[in-house]
Amino acid sequence: MVKTKTLGVVGRGLEKVRETEKLFGEIYSRESDAIFRFCLLRTSDREMALDFTQDTFMRFWNSLCMEKDIKNHRTFLFTIARNLIIDWYRKKKSFSLEALMDNAAEGRGNFQLVAPENVETEVEAGMLIDKIRELPEPYSNAVYLRCVEELKPREISEILGESANVISVRISRGLEQLRQLLHVNTKTKAA
């Protein structure tokens, strides 16, 4: 006798469950790096980013089971990740600036590449991530999602809960500020 319960998992055909699992596996394979990267950008902590990645996909699984109408899996995943991280920041009782600075100083150790033998690329990636993180919050996410994850302004607007026009402006201003930060960085190195 089959027991039917909430969440939609039990009570649906076994075939449907298998399809959902297959879809989930494909999406995880395709998007887990991007979600992890985003979580790492926002937390500067590899272990934390791994946890958030897992939580994001677990919530995504629940949404798939509830047969939510998900038009774009990618933007939905980023939205979940972003909300999880916002909640985490809100819950933190004390936000240690020292811990942040320690994280930033050790930052490059967190940015392990898939092929870590290319030290130069790893250093460059770490530097760019640091600069993107230095941008004011409204610009940082928009620039990152546009330049690194190649999302369209319309997709970014769904994730950040702003209009596409606002996102386009943030991308422009953010890139301008990023150029200035990188220019200052180049001048500092040359000096």
Partner: protein, 50 residues
Amino acid sequence: MQKCPDGRCPVGIDSVKEIALTPQEKRNIYFKLKNQIFKQKKLLRELPLF
């Protein structure tokens, strides 16, 4: 494919895309997820009918 409409993204941005999970991390997370999902299904099957 251009990343930005007018190519304004910083030089070297491709290097950031190489930041990723290690194969081991990817597997570990996936196994943990599968485990959580399995436990969830088991719990649902064991809940009494109303």
